[in-house]
């Protein structure tokens, strides 16, 4: 550093880079973390769980340690019938999303309601908890907020899970993790654009729709339809299953890969799935030697595809 210029230069460099980071990191994050969470954000956070990428509770990114979304048709304690509602069950040990851990990220109003009326501060990860979303007025504004049903109604996670039939359980958090893991987001976006996607892919999301979500997995290279509202266009579970097993069954020109491996070992009846035989039959169908393609196996309730479809059908 023989020259005075270099001393000045290094200092200026620090000022320039520091200034740049101030404007591009500090200001925006302050701005964005104070955004008020919408109902969409709250439901996403509670159904997805803490983290849907690599995380210490789920190092292999297979969807361990995620909450279960359930549709409640009767009160889990009294057994009385009630209006169907969605609840989010965190069995003991399931990590909470940042919405619960750091209520600050909910933004003003939602934070106060969730803490005071929803009592989310009392939730304890080691004992698990059940949450749902409710609405109330805060300083003249109608807001959605989180309710800790374990503290308020005494609903215990195991009890709720036991009271719900299998078809009313949705593994949305695990499904989202599989969406990240299988990297559907290299082809599909989860972000209708603000300029011209309204008619085809639906409304673009709003500023407060993402609090507590991670990763957001927007996707940047769109080679396929946006999926943020896909279940509003097409909510047929049967179509989805055929399409995932082999997209060419329902869309001959599709370039989507086959995701048959997500069916895992056995089908719904516990029979081993014979992939080789299926492919052979499919080839014969393609060559015109069969009139109908082979049947797509009905997935086992524990298979990965069931959870992925739960997630996709939740994208309303």
């Amino acid at each position: 550093m023989a020259f005075r210029e270099y001393k000045i230069g290094t200092r200026l460099f620090g000022v320039a880079l520091g200034g740049s980071m101030m404007i591009t990191l500090y200001f925006p994050t302050i701005d964005m973390t104070s955004v008020q969470a919408t109902e969409v954000a709250l439901r996403k956070a509670l159904s997805a769980g803490r983290q849907n990428g690599f995380a210490y509770e789920d190092p292999f990114v297979t969807g361990e340690g995620k909450p279960v979304t359930v549709v409640l048709r009767k009160d889990p304690v009294t057994g009385e019938k009630m209006e169907p509602m969605e609840a989010y069950v965190f069995p003991p040990g399931t990590p909470f999303p940042s919405a619960i851990r750091h209520p600050r990220t909910l933004g003003s109003g939602v934070k106060e309601l969730s803490l005071q009326q929803g009592r989310i501060g009392e939730a304890d990860e080691s004992r698990g908890a059940v949450f749902y979303v409710d609405h109330a007025t805060y300083q003249g504004e109608k807001l959605a907020y989180i309710v800790n049903a374990t503290a308020i109604k005494g609903w215990q996670p195991e009890q709720v899970l036991a009271s719900v039939p299998e078809e009313d359980k949705k593994y949305i958090g695990t499904g989202k993790t599989l969406f990240v893991r299988e990297q559907c987001w290299w082809c599909h976006t989860l972000l209708p654009e603000q300029t011209q996607d309204w008619q085809y892919f639906g409304v673009p999301p709003r500023l407060g729709d993402f609090n507590s979500e991670g990763p957001t997995a927007f996707g940047s290279d769109r080679k396929a339809p946006d999926l943020l509202h896909v279940a509003s266009r097409n909510s047929s579970r049967e179509w989805m299953l055929m399409h995932f097993f082999n997209p060419r069954l329902v869309q001959p020109h599709s370039i989507m890969p086959r995701f048959d491996y997500l069916w895992d070992e056995v089908d719904a009846n516990g029979n081993k799935i014979d992939y080789a035989a299926w492919r052979k039959a499919y080839e014969e169908y393609e060559e015109g030697k069969r009139i109908y393609p082979p049947e797509v196996p009905e997935p086992h309730p524990d298979s990965r595809i069931r959870k992925l479809v739960d997630f996709i059908l939740s994208l309303k």
């Binding site: 460099f13 320039a16 880079l17 740049s20 980071m21 404007i23 591009t24 925006p28 994050t29 701005d31 964005m32 973390t33 955004v35 954000a41 803490r50 983290q51 849907n52 990428g53 690599f54 190092p59 292999f60 990114v61 940042s98 851990r101 990220t105 990240v180 893991r181 299988e182 990297q183 290299w186 082809c187 972000l191 654009e193 603000q194 011209q196 996607d197 008619q199 085809y200 500023l207 993402f210 609090n211 991670g214 990763p215 957001t216 997995a217 940047s220 290279d221 769109r222 080679k223 396929a224 339809p225 060419r248 869309q251 599709s254 989507m256 890969p257 086959r258 491996y261 992939y275 492919r279």
Partner: protein, 468 residues
Amino acid sequence: MFKYLFARNEDIPPGTAAVYFGYSSIIWFIIGTGLGSFNAAKLAFPDFVTGSELFAFGHMRQVHVHAVIFGWISMAFAMAMMYITPALGNTRLWSEKLGVWNCFLWNVGLSLGLTLLWTGMTSGREYSDFPWIIDLYIAAFIALPLAINVWMTILKRRTQGIYTTNWFFGAGVFMVTIVFLVGNTPEWFQLTGLSEAYLTWWFAHNVLGLWITPVAAAIAYYTVPKITGNPLYSHRIGHLHFWSVVVFYSTPAAHHLMSAPLPEWLKSFASVEGVLILVPAIAFVSNLLLTMTGKWHYFVDNLEIKFTITGVLLAIPLNMQGGFQQTRAINWYIHGTGWIVAHAHLALLGFSTFLEAAAVYYGLQTIMRRKLYSLTLGNFHFWLLLIGFATYWISMTIAGLIQGAAKIYEVPYIDTVIAEHPYMIARWVGGTLVFTSNIVWLYNMWMTARAGTEIPAGRLPHELAYER
């Protein structure tokens, strides 16, 4: 290599680390482009290698991207730093042993990271896809040792001033370390929501803008004057380039999210700063092209200059695209289409790869004191690379424009997929040419080490005639 890991620093011949980095980078180049070509085949023919988890497109795509960025490009940078920094300081590399260890740990860490990514262990964040453990490894065992070696070599230099190339090297290694540490905070501190999305792109933008672009340019600042013998046209314009990179390139990260609901002030700010990227770009291109004055015959005669100047020329369309495609007026049309993929390859496979290839060609010959084995094979490499790249770029640009048009006219999505099909095939063909050319290159460099003519003491590789 292993014998040098535990040798005494003085016993390691100067340039050893650079040679290891050089050959490693070429091998990663082959692996990376091979994976790229495989992915391209899958997008053209979806049932090519189907029904297996490991070979699914989603599992393979990022392995390609990280193999080329952190294997090929970054290792070629390390190679260039290991021999250019001491050469410009008229000294030896501060620690050859640290360099050899750096290369070893780099290869180990990258292989491990890519394997994890391949099996599906990802953070789900584009460009920072590596799980955070690997990010930490990269910062601590890849970026930092390289930085220390570069800084110490600059400090221990035996010249008075510091040449342009070394400003960029010294700043680049610093900035990439910071970018890694800050850009991964969402994973370390569980930042969520839009902050996570924004930081993902802050990382992606800056790893390109504060690492790949300036360091690639720095290489050209060395090779062109060195080989042509002309002094750099203007030191002052070099200053302008350097400072405008630091100020303008580090700020427009939000322009990657123009159609997302980020705060509007941030998007507008990013978009304006993004246009200002033209300042360093024009400074760089004009400075180097003017340095060539009177020596343009080297563009034809000399392989390294041919590569370098092609890279510099490719920086023109690159920055014209880069400066304008992120403005609101244009971005809505091409955002998220193949246009962007074409642009990414123009930057990395066009501009940057050509500059690094020149550095690796020139550096390996200089350090091993052997003339390039075959000019014919070298030219073959050049043309195959250029034609392959051009095919890729043109076909993906067209595909992107089709997608853009389809977006506005709201045609059923499947019609877009059908219309793009021919261009997907063309891209695959182009990419495969690139992959093939690299195998030829490795052979040529291998033969250079074994059978290239020795360069007599006191001479430089470009002063000797080519023999084959």
